[in-house]
Symmetry: D2
Amino acid sequence: MLRVGIIGGTGYTGGELLRLLSLHPKAEIVVVTSRKQAGKPIDTAHPNLKGLVDLCFEDVNPSQIAEKCDVVFTAVPHGAAMAVVPELLGGGTRVIDLSADYRLPVEIFEKVYGKKHEDPRENMYGLPEIHPEVRDAMLVGNPGCFPTGAILAAAPLVAAGVVERAVFDSKTGISGAGQDPSPVTHYPNVAENVNPYNLTRHRHRAEIEQELKAFDESVKTSFTPHIVPSTRGILTTAHIFVNQELTSDEVSAIYEEFYNGKYFVRMNKPSLAAVRGSNFCDIAFEIDQGTDRIVVVSAIDNMVKGASGQAIQNMNIMFGLDERTGLWTGGLSP
Amino acid sequence: MLRVGIIGGTGYTGGELLRLLSLHPKAEIVVVTSRKQAGKPIDTAHPNLKGLVDLCFEDVNPSQIAEKCDVVFTAVPHGAAMAVVPELLGGGTRVIDLSADYRLPVEIFEKVYGKKHEDPRENMYGLPEIHPEVRDAMLVGNPGCFPTGAILAAAPLVAAGVVERAVFDSKTGISGAGQDPSPVTHYPNVAENVNPYNLTRHRHRAEIEQELKAFDESVKTSFTPHIVPSTRGILTTAHIFVNQELTSDEVSAIYEEFYNGKYFVRMNKPSLAAVRGSNFCDIAFEIDQGTDRIVVVSAIDNMVKGASGQAIQNMNIMFGLDERTGLWTGGLSP
Amino acid sequence: MLRVGIIGGTGYTGGELLRLLSLHPKAEIVVVTSRKQAGKPIDTAHPNLKGLVDLCFEDVNPSQIAEKCDVVFTAVPHGAAMAVVPELLGGGTRVIDLSADYRLPVEIFEKVYGKKHEDPRENMYGLPEIHPEVRDAMLVGNPGCFPTGAILAAAPLVAAGVVERAVFDSKTGISGAGQDPSPVTHYPNVAENVNPYNLTRHRHRAEIEQELKAFDESVKTSFTPHIVPSTRGILTTAHIFVNQELTSDEVSAIYEEFYNGKYFVRMNKPSLAAVRGSNFCDIAFEIDQGTDRIVVVSAIDNMVKGASGQAIQNMNIMFGLDERTGLWTGGLSP
Amino acid sequence: MLRVGIIGGTGYTGGELLRLLSLHPKAEIVVVTSRKQAGKPIDTAHPNLKGLVDLCFEDVNPSQIAEKCDVVFTAVPHGAAMAVVPELLGGGTRVIDLSADYRLPVEIFEKVYGKKHEDPRENMYGLPEIHPEVRDAMLVGNPGCFPTGAILAAAPLVAAGVVERAVFDSKTGISGAGQDPSPVTHYPNVAENVNPYNLTRHRHRAEIEQELKAFDESVKTSFTPHIVPSTRGILTTAHIFVNQELTSDEVSAIYEEFYNGKYFVRMNKPSLAAVRGSNFCDIAFEIDQGTDRIVVVSAIDNMVKGASGQAIQNMNIMFGLDERTGLWTGGLSP
């Protein structure tokens, strides 16, 4: 059994790690931290897990955690992970960080997030369909939710060298904003509404560019996110402008080859319902006949494939398990 | 491995049986029927299960199914189950019927559903927290969704002999209306709305009365359902009028004793989120000080504890498995 | 033209007063206060009103407002109205208070709200269908949202002397919780959920009892509110237990006589959609044959008939206008 | 008083015409047709209008309608308007058609809608901010909902000659699909979901191209619609690629000049709430610094500015009224 720790267990990604790990046959949760709720049973923060997870939150330091664990998930705000990761790694445990701290090269991180990086080291971008080398990493930077959906939608075509420009228009459920109430998450502001935000400057854009330009330096990318009335899920519409005419069969072949053996990517009509609560990324496309545009659509659950599920997928790979272990469940539909 | 068949696999309860059974370590789905979709892969009707269930729908007759299966779930409309159940039982398989056909004594069924029963036999009401004798049944009538939530909320107090009157005011998600579109399920009619219906005469009332009056013949019951803007879930508010003063501790003790060892009933603040996709029934209560009223609230997922999950719980019990097998998952919250 | 002032113009009830008054042919908004947003255009807080209301918020004291206005709406939190109302009345203006400060007799107010009343005077409960004497009042306590729906549903039967017990089970949209974000209003906690709260002890119960017991001192009342996934609207299900058998025609006659000439109460299938944005209260009922129960259902928009619309209806009556002036609009359906 | 007729009064656009015209001080509804509901009161189809519109549906022929009316709205399916419009016009009445029959040149209509046009005549595209010449028209083709939002978002920049490519990604409420239930409108398929459809080939694209290419023949346009969980509203995100660098002030000036005196277009942060139930189109933009992209966002209520409200705006203009008459109401927010 893998001994697993979670730093920051009260939030949405922490809760989702707990929910998923409670189903994992090869992992045992041994410590879950929370400063504010230390001593309280985990089900006071996550009543859905009553009866399933019988631990209490603890307030312990990273080196104590490192001793007890084979792997630690850091589910803390951006900037907070870098304060604990060195000590965890120093204690010999492997780390999967769900914050943005280790996704980007240090100089890009500092520019995008506007703060100095206190633990500069090489980034390891944990999108396992594209970076199987996570297998050997001690530290993985788990991807952002928007980049996961956007990169998986466009990567096959970009890697094929046929893309000039990719315009990503993403629609996300509100859980990506976390569990702290704010005007952005206030029900009357979300329901029956669509809220575009950061129209041109969302921080996740750097991850998208990093990964797609690694395939083709010349590709131009744009990204605009919107909040839609849903708790979970991201549907990304990629308006892709290509430099040559492609048939539908050719595009299908490109995707099938690229994702051959990647269990969690399905060529399947995208809908938030079909992936809800699951680790799948569903993708479909349509060619805009007579023009240079292909519309590719992807759907993920932002809290699973876009966060905690992908983190566990990385854990499985890092420890030589089948990547599906504990994650092979269908979406909760309807 | 239990060999399992599903008659009627394209609807919501059929889909939910498939989703849950795909996670069950001791059951193997061997046949799933659909007349209309025979020959098509199951994921054409249930895209969420693509990659998880690799069968096609079949159009085969009950006796063929009985041969292949240890147990068959009939997920068909009211009145249709009685047309196949005799042949299934005759073939030696055990049957869990998700329709209303075998929940009530024949004479009550005929009165409530306004049709002649073609397969009169003794009913076996499959609410396992109350009827552990499902263990030995060849045929179980799986309870209705509203009755499951209502009965579990009130049974301990009724069994304690303290209840004069129980007024059940239930709020259900729309999936209970099935997957066929109608004005009742039309998004603009459901969203941002509350739709009371069958204010005094819902057919599920007969199940509620049957089970509660078995504890105390003198109890008076009323039931009014409402549709709220949710896909899944039923929250039932039971306004219970008692014949004696009770303290909160006394009521707690009554519930804890009644549900001792019943894993799927939790004394837990009820919310549709905490039980979503899971087989739990969460219950809480509050005493209206200085009056004769106790308000008890229960929450279930109508498609799981209110239908397919409870059916699998019955299967587990009927075949000597731990009742939690394949069902021990937390709610998908948020 | 009536000169109208609003104290507290940035919240939901203030915004709704502004929206409705901008359509009123006989009223002119002359001052709208806000301490925090003083100097800013009203459409910074209410972008829906851009182009329609061209004032700025002001920070002025009550006596200055009284000078300019024929009538002032106080749309402030409970406890804050009593701090400004004496000065407004002293300045000769009439006042419609949307807080709870003047709805109850002082001794009841102090008990229910747990604070001393700083401006004790006789309450004038501004439910105009029941209290036409608001016509002559200098100060009106505008009713709470839940009481409006509950009282209008039950009053005719209670006044007819046939009711033993009325159990009100109310389902409200979340806007009743105001525009300040909190866990209660957090989208992931509200959507696809039902949240019962204050199961037995909501403060609005005092208003319901006050009004119904004025018709029949012996009537027993209970009240349990729930939050449903909607921004606006309250649907109240009144489970009414009667002391004699009544036919449907008899009940119809009781309601039609009671509400004869009351334009805003319609015998109309209740739905939040049909009253959305309007000042109507729609009511229907069904007799539970063979029992002592009648189920009566009412629907209102909590922000209009349950707050700002009813306040303007009171204004119309107080100033001798047709009560429909500026309010005679159909619900925004769907 | 303008005497107004409505052909097809039972659907969503018919209902919205009735709701809005009931507020119009210069128009009187004299006839509303429905074949199926002839003889029934209008509030049986539209309970929100009970007490406000006291007519019955009639089944009368176009020439009878023409006699009674100064103007007739045809709120019928595509292809059905052309069967009645010639007779209406022959009877001397003016016509505003809410179907697609008169929006496009005949040859384009026949290609896009795949049917022969039975009443070929010159189209008059009734987007009044762009075509003030509706003033003199006997027949106006009222624009589609998506084109209204898309064209108003992009027209100023296209007219300025600076646009190379405009990619419209639209998010619509489901009411655009009408009031007939279907899998597309089934609550469990819509709620907590995003449904892209007609990814590259929606019929409204022809209207968008027609109007934008009239300003600049060289502009390239793409259009992809999505259904989001909302009843009303369309938010359109226009990813606009320009051929020169523009400052934010320059773009502001372009929009302000273009929409100078156009009351229903506001430069206002777009949100479906702020325009709900109103005839406004709210627009904002952001320049993607250092790239060739400007993101422009517009919001309308698809049933008002995208259909019935715009039709009444056209009526006002055609009959020399202030275009705001009966339409000058703020959005129902929240």
